[in-house]
Amino acid sequence: MIALLIRDLKLAFRAGGGFGLGLAFFLIVTVLVPFGVGPESALLARIAPGILWLGALLACLLSLDRILALDWEDGSLDLLATSPLPLEGVVSVKALAHWLTTGLPLTLAAPFLGLLLSLPTQGYAWLVVSLALGTPALSVIGTFGAALTVGIKRGGLLLSLLVLPLYVPTLIFGAELARRGAEGLATTTPLLMLAGISFGVIALLPFASALVLRVNLR
């Protein structure tokens, strides 16, 4: 399991892969927002948590088709399926590798991009907390979408169409947590809901992902 994780991480870092790409995309989206809505800092501060969450979500989405597609093409997914490691474990490791190479860097980069959008001081901690809690859910849900569409040629667009509605609850509670944090309101409810969604998804969705992957490998 650990060997698979290390292999996936190495591939992501070395192959000029999605690692830097997602971060760069996040940066560009954030930089473009003030061009779109104007440089007024009061307005930017108000929408900053939502923009950062949306940017992180889109950056996550961008790299989803890399989770399984490359392994599918070169046949290593078939090898993994016949290995002693259960397929549920494989998809969980894949999701973890995706999170380590996209979700975690995005979470760490978010405060610096928050500076650009003049996020209020008390908002930084909550922004990081909400992204740290929410992005694992994005990776796991994304792995499910990737497993659904792995057999489809040029499935990228379909993948987005399938995954985006599934992202709605995570986005709502994540962005709400960041917003309430930035405005100094009570944060317990969205915090607990976000944590509930993340842990529930991490615990249950790999079974569905493995199920659809088995169908696709049939």
Binding site: G151, G155, L158, P169, I172, V215
Partner: protein, 243 residues
């Protein structure tokens, strides 16, 4: 008659559906014509809403069906995954486009109703928002059916998507509730409510709802039959090529 699983046999299903179909179609036409004409021409105008209240005869049944069609797809998807009856998977496939149309009707009539009443075509109200999300779920489901060539793989994948999607749809419903307060009123047809729709309006409304349900049954029977026959034609052509 025997058990309900007899209808898992496509021949038996086609036979029975073919016999029932004309009656259901006639029933749907009759109830819809009676309900809509009664609703549109023989009910009084509401004292606050004027004649716009009559949109209810399309809006409420369509919204009701939009949710229940998804529920029916969930049940048939489960039956497919558990018992592997092809008719079940094909019924889910046949129902999805009907469901998406119902969702669109509910959204559009809602917008047309909302414009004079709330002064806006669209508001990010929880109910409206969850219907929009439901619409996206339908689109994804249909797109996945279209994208996969192998019928069994497509049936499996869409069934799992339907089940996972149902969980997320319910989650979204509550998330959206938490996220914004609503303009839309609560339930208007529950059994023990003061705020229910008045009887003058509700009788034709029930007839319209019955009409929409019958229409849905007729469409699903028809479309499932078509799917079965399509698959049979494909099998025949394949056999022809071999032989």
């Amino acid at each position: 008659m025997g058990s309900i699983w007899e209808y898992a046999n496509p021949v038996k299903f086609n036979h029975t559906a073919g016999k029932v179909l004309p009656w259901v179609s006639i029933g749907a036409t009759a109830t819809l014509v009676i309900g809509l004409i009664w609703g549109f021409f023989f009910t009084p105008d509401d004292y606050r809403q004027g004649s716009t209240v009559k949109i209810i005869y399309l809006h409420v049944p369509a919204a009701l069906m939009a949710i229940n069609v998804w529920f029916m797809m969930l049940v048939t998807s489960l039956i497919w995954l558990i018992r592997r009856h092809h008719v079940s998977a094909l019924a889910a496939k046949a129902a999805a486009p009907v469901g998406v149309i119902m969702t669109v009707i509910a959204l559009i009539t809602g917008a047309i109703w909302g414009q004079p009443m709330w002064g806006t075509w669209w508001a990010w109200d929880p109910r409206l928002t969850s219907f929009l999300i439901l619409f996206l779920f339908y689109l994804g489901y249909i797109a996945l059916w279209e994208a996969i060539d192998n019928p069994d793989t497509a049936a499996d994948l869409t069934a799992v998507l339907c089940i996972v999607g149902s969980v997320f749809a319910v989650l979204s419903r509550y998330a959206v509730n938490f996220w914004n307060q609503g303009l839309h009123q609560g339930a208007s047809l529950s059994l023990d409510k003061e705020e229910n729709v008045a009887d003058v309006f509700s009788t034709p409304l029930y007839i319209c709802i019955a009409g929409f349900i019958l229409l849905f049954i007729a469409l699903v029977f028809l479309r499932t039959r078509t799917e079965i026959q399509k698959r049979r034609t494909k099998a025949l052509i394949a056999r022809e090529r071999l032989g």
